[in-house]
Amino acid sequence: MHCFSSGCQMATKLVQWLTLFTLFSSVWLSLVLKLIPVELDPRIMDVLWPLPIYLLVVFGSYSLATIGYRVATFNDCDEAAESLKQCFNKSYWSPLFSIRRTIQS
């Protein structure tokens, strides 16, 4: 919720993501550019500097996996498609459909 004097509104998804992004990038920048006088294990620094690209790759592979999964589990309704085709063949307009089919082939 972000509140003006006139009242409170729920933050949009965009504002939420921008806030998260700003928070993460400020923490990351201050650590990588050594703006904070904190002694970090060099191995942690080694993990830290490619972290934004790593998060992008993780996001990309998650998107890809979701797409692939949705393709694999798509509800085709084969019987419904067949019965719909039969409706076309039995309908008043079936001569038109068979003309269209011969033109297409």
């Binding site: 993990v47 690209i53 993780v58 592979s61 890809l64 393709v71």
Partner: protein, 64 residues
């Protein structure tokens, strides 16, 4: 979805999973593994962990 659709879909899922596992090992796990261990030989030098995604990103952008 049936037949080849299912195969393609699950193939994409497996590919994405493999990318995730390989890249996570490369970026997150490998710095904590001692330099002499065998695991390091399965991965390119660490600079490529940044270069390859950037190049791939640029290539993808040029196709949009």
């Amino acid at each position: 979805a049936t037949g080849s659709d299912q195969a393609v879909g699950y193939g994409i899922v497996l590919f994405a999973g493999a990318v995730f596992i390989y890249y996570s090992l490369w970026v997150i796990i490998l710095p904590f593994v001692e330099p002499g261990q065998f695991l390091h030989q399965l991965f390119l030098p660490r600079a490529y962990a940044v270069i390859l995604p950037l190049v791939a990103g640029v290539v993808l952008l040029t196709f949009i």
